[in-house]
């Protein structure tokens, strides 16, 4: 399969669906992808235009930076979700994993570990606490991947179980209370600036760059698309499907941890109920960004556009004083619309 085949949504197609021609382009798609590939960007532009007309607060510098900070967390989670969805999987546990990793980072930073029987106190630096949070996310992600591949549990079910387990562990770790007062150094991650840009935005840029490199320039990136396109064919062609899936879920867990650390740092507090429904926002970003839920087709940059649409939509609805209940309705309809467009695109192919 080739990764350089432009699809109508500007995404990378599954190799078994869209064989490339000699010049590297799909015959079926030539000549009609030009507008459709920018549909997410066009939607984002129209959304911004409408909001700037409807609210005088939308196009202010402080609001736009605020939106970017909020989007940064969803981008990190959604990048991991994209990799999973590309393999035709799903991860419902990212919100809970985010909460647990944020809580573990905050707990270790604030309280360390006491081992009375050994008369030992283990303290954690900011670096140590962040590493521990990241490792926790990676481990939970790896466990998801292992459960899915080892026992053939549907990803939906395995990650739904992890959603509950991680939330329960978060409650146990925090005792149901927020862990606050984490120090200025740690707060800088979520609230600091670097070269006139908020640090969370830099973090999301790095995450996106690494993910684009992974999907476009590495062997495992090609395997991810191949598995999503046709898992059996991939297995028969010698790809270690289970290994790739475990890696993908591990990366998604690690990125959920990154999101958790950013949220905790920004609030200077690890909230036991953090991240609730974040999985829905990230799935929405992935779908709106043009990644097919059946796998094999999509891109990281498409997801970034999707996350921006969700973030701007959230911000706009708040600025317009739309009831939170109606906000959920609107977001649901937008996701539905995105899926319908995706289906129509797939049919055209």
């Amino acid at each position: 399969m080739s990764q350089n085949i432009p699809s109508i949504a500007g995404e990378k197609p599954a190799g078994d669906r869209l064989p490339p021609t000699a010049d590297g382009r799909s015959v079926a798609l030539q000549g009609r992808f030009s507008i459709a590939r920018f549909q997410s960007l066009i939607a984002l532009f129209l959304l911004c235009l409408a909001l700037s007309i409807l609210s005088d607060k939308f196009l202010t510098v402080s609001n736009l930076w605020n939106v970017m900070r909020q989007i940064s967390v969803n981008i990190c989670i959604s990048v991991g979700m994209t990799l999973i969805v590309l393999t035709a999987g799903i991860d419902l546990s990212v919100g809970s994993v985010l909460a647990l990793c944020g809580a573990i980072t905050a707990g270790l930073l604030k309280n360390g570990i006491e081992i009375p029987t050994q008369n030992l106190y283990i303290g954690f630096t900011v670096l140590g606490a962040i590493l521990a949070g990241g490792l926790t996310g990676s481990a939970l992600g790896a466990f998801n991947g292992w459960a899915i591949t080892r026992f053939s549990v549907p990803p939906f079910v395995a990650t739904l179980a992890m959603l509950t387990v991680a939330r329960g562990l978060t409650m146990l770790w925090t005792g149901g209370f927020p862990i606050s007062g984490l120090g200025e150094t740690f707060q800088f991650i979520g609230t600091g600036w670097f070269l006139a840009i908020p640090l969370p935005v830099w973090i999301s840029i790095v995450v996106v760059a690494l993910a684009v490199f992974l999907t476009d320039k590495t062997r495992i990136g090609r395997y991810i698309y191949a598995i999503g396109g046709n898992e059996n064919a991939s297995r028969l062609s010698g790809i270690n499907v289970n290994k790739v899936k475990i890696i993908v879920y591990t990366i998604a867990g690690a990125l959920a941890a990154v999101g958790g650390i950013m949220v905790t740092s920004r609030l200077d507090s690890a909230q036991p109920n953090a991240g609730i429904s974040y999985e829905l926002d990230s799935i929405a970003a992935v779908v709106i960004g043009g990644t097919s839920l059946s796998g094999g087709r999509g891109s990281i940059l498409g997801t970034v556009q999707g996350a921006m649409i969700i973030g701007v939509l959230n911000n706009g609805l708040v600025l317009l004083n739309v009831s939170p209940f109606w906000q959920q309705v609107v977001k649901g309809l937008v996701i539905l619309l995105a899926v319908i467009i995706d289906k129509a695109n797939s049919k055209n192919e």
């Binding site: 604030k110 006491e114 009375p116 954690f124 005792g175 209370f177 606050s180």
Partner: protein, 212 residues
């Protein structure tokens, strides 16, 4: 690169990370000089020396709702407190009104304007479930950075709520009847993003009944 050298580099990197990540101390040294935190004592001290004297600064609920309607941001900035930067903010408020309903969990009060005697929205004074951090955070008088760990900080909140349950609520709850005129001071929670002022719950700090 030969495998042994590669592994050596990995090991060195891990060791360097670990060295900069954790530190070890004897537990008794860490505990030395830090006596067990007395949350109950701290809460009692806070109640008597900071909260009660500061109640005179509580904003009138009628005034607050008017301010919120006129300029929400200004009202939040002037009168609310909170930890962090979330939308949930806490206010220390006072008010007076007529009891319209009494049940096991709460007392509903129709606020009255002290001057104009005009009808204003209902509030619910909690008399059973006194939980959360509303009073601690609304006061704005406790700095989280003064605590060595978050458990102590949260225990202060639990103890403040216990004082309310033990000393503020019982004398009020046993006497209050529908039609009574009440004067109250307490803490409320409002969401800056999704403001609802027609169903406010008050966690009481001071309650008085004025029989008609």
């Amino acid at each position: 690169m030969p495998k042994p050298i590669r592994y050596l580099i990995y090991a060195a990197a891990i060791a360097l990370l670990a060295y900069n990540s954790v530190y070890f101390k004897k537990l008794d040294e860490v505990k030395a000089g830090t006596t067990a935190f007395d949350a109950a004592g701290y809460a009692k001290d806070f109640w008597e020396k900071k909260l009660t004297p500061g109640l005179s600064k509580a904003v009138d609920l009628n005034v607050l709702t008017s301010l919120l309607e006129a300029d929400k941001e200004k009202a939040f900035n002037a009168h609310s407190h909170a930890l962090g930067i979330g939308n949930i903010r806490y206010f220390l408020v006072r008010g007076q009104g007529v009891v319209t309903h009494v049940d096991e969990n709460e007392v509903s009060v129709q606020l009255t304007d002290a001057g104009a005697k005009t009808a204003t929205p209902h509030v619910r004074i909690a008399t059973e479930y006194i939980f959360g951090n509303a009073v601690r955070d609304a006061s704005g008088a406790i700095d989280i950075n003064a605590f060595t760990n978050s458990m102590d900080f949260n225990n202060v909140s639990a103890e403040i709520n216990r004082i309310i349950r033990d000393t503020v609520v019982p004398p009020f709850k046993s006497k209050v009847r529908k039609g009574d005129r009440v004067v109250f001071t307490g803490a409320i929670e409002l969401n800056r993003g999704h403001l609802q002022t027609n169903d406010i719950e008050v966690i009481p700090v001071n309650l008085q009944i004025e029989k008609p």
